[in-house]
Symmetry: C2
Subunit: 346 residues, 2 copies
Amino acid sequence: MAADLLQNVHTRFNLLTGEWVLVSPHRNKRPWQGKVEAAAGLQRPAYVADCYLCPGNHRAEGVANPAYTEPYAFTNDFAALLPDTPAGEVNEGDLLIAHSQKGQCRVICFSPRHDLTLPQMELGEIEKVVTLWKNEFEALAAQPFIKYIQIFENKGEIMGCSNPHPHGQIWAQSEIPTELVKELHQQKAWFAKHGRSLLADYLDLELKKQERIVCENEHFVALVPFWAVWPYETMIISRRQVADIREFTVDEQKGLASILKRLTTRYDNLFQTSFPYSAGMHQAPVNDGAHPEWHWHMHFYPPLLRSATVKKFMVGYEMLASPQRDITPEMAANQLRGLSEVHFAS
Amino acid sequence: MAADLLQNVHTRFNLLTGEWVLVSPHRNKRPWQGKVEAAAGLQRPAYVADCYLCPGNHRAEGVANPAYTEPYAFTNDFAALLPDTPAGEVNEGDLLIAHSQKGQCRVICFSPRHDLTLPQMELGEIEKVVTLWKNEFEALAAQPFIKYIQIFENKGEIMGCSNPHPHGQIWAQSEIPTELVKELHQQKAWFAKHGRSLLADYLDLELKKQERIVCENEHFVALVPFWAVWPYETMIISRRQVADIREFTVDEQKGLASILKRLTTRYDNLFQTSFPYSAGMHQAPVNDGAHPEWHWHMHFYPPLLRSATVKKFMVGYEMLASPQRDITPEMAANQLRGLSEVHFAS
Ligand SMILES: O=P(O)(O)O[C@H]1O[C@H](CO)[C@@H](O)[C@H](O)[C@H]1O
Ligand SMILES: O=P(O)(O)O[C@H]1O[C@H](CO)[C@@H](O)[C@H](O)[C@H]1O
């Protein structure tokens, strides 16, 4: 590896999207006089009377949650996608192009306890979340009009999360969305050429180099991808190539719960805060034939850059031209690898 | 136009990028219990002793600004791109791919006055900003290694702007970045097929329909694009097809200054705040042969959704799957069109 090149300004290729990221390693030294966020605290009560996700409470539309004691899923009261949208399309002169989209949005409460987050939950409780994800995925995929299922979590106020009660979401829809189309294209091209999954080959190389690995277990590896955009972006890759969560064995489900706990604990320990991120699995489209190219993985996109209160802004240049990062992925991986897996607040 | 379709959940095609946006018109009704930003005030002193952009003050690296009285440009002290980066590339098994990038970053102070923003500046002063942009573009394009020049502004703390002194930036670089590659591809394909610029045909249709136009003058039209992602996203398109700012006549430069003042005044009036946004011109690559397909335009990406303090979060689903918006572009255009062009604070 040309070590010099990666210390100077350069662009890196994202194997999964086919796009590039600009890396400016020297730039982290600039002083910051801009926006400072409130650090996310860990102190919350176990139950909050006006939280619409706590067990037994009434939600916005008047429905009451059951007194759930395990991870619990329900249909989003303000869903962005609806199952009964009438079909239709518009095309005016190839200039105004639109068509209808159907789908379903689910909310997944990770725990009845309002005061926990994934890293603070018992391993056994996280395993139940994984099981619920799998069951939800199965049920959504059983509807033939569903083509893609996005399991994700927005964690923290600065990631637009409107309620600190530990929860994630699932948006399922009748079409394959933009980012997935890119990943499909890239994975298919690699598979066609090499007869192996892109991420299997990539993972082999990363395991050999040990420069960007954060932590691993028998079934999963967490690493900072070579092309990471966000300062502390990571990806969990399954060692065994599967298309989606339905294929995981019970052992693999436990392995996923375990690496989730370990990775998110490292995140919290990085700036001794409840570390914000958006995270989600990228899985093969469903009801769409075979996807021998697809390799299950999960992205973590955390906004923080320097501390619990200073984030990286993806703004002018980034929106108009290309994503840009300051610290290198190798520096980030080094830091994350050096952290304890015992939660700082425990 | 199938009016019904556009009132229900649908996806729209972005002509310039070839990507899609998910529109959920009904979703704006959901209650918001999430993050509330501080409203950006307009009250600031005309000069601030420790502002590194005010005339005569010392900057971070110790250099002093001249006592400038007109728009003033200098090289960014913490530039993300540098002119002397050594050339190099990395390719390990087609899996780790990177190469060096050279460039230059400039800062453009719009005014010596710390307390102004574009909508509050005199028209004549904005014309001088346009002239400076043109001169800077010319000087940067005169360096043969520069292939693309991004002129932009991050306005407001929530857009990562670290100093409220009115200023923008220019990042010039040795390669054409991702978003521009997409726009090149789309514009070239249209031009090859129709022998006219994509945006000329699009603009004609929008002027005929009058559904998404915000304001116009002899030389420019400001509209909410059919495929807008941000709630109040707009685009300024030049009526005459030019590749970049160097081709604008003196009259067109004045027209640009005028429509900038009018559009940003409407923005401030929308929520009676100093309206945050990232904005920037998309111009043809330079030192790269002829670009008969390229049509000058400028994007405005503002984060606010419901008020001066509640923004739209592009997070989990949006990062992982596809951009998503709540109010329709037509609703946004209607609101912006109905606003006064007299600044609320004047
Ligand atoms: O250069 P500035 O204003 O310090 O920085 C701001 O704009 C840059 C270009 O969009 C971004 O890379 C930074 O994240 C943002 O904080
Ligand atoms: O559904 P929520 O949690 O209310 O909303 C949050 O996540 C959604 C999916 O990423 C985004 O569209 C919203 O902008 C964000 O505030």
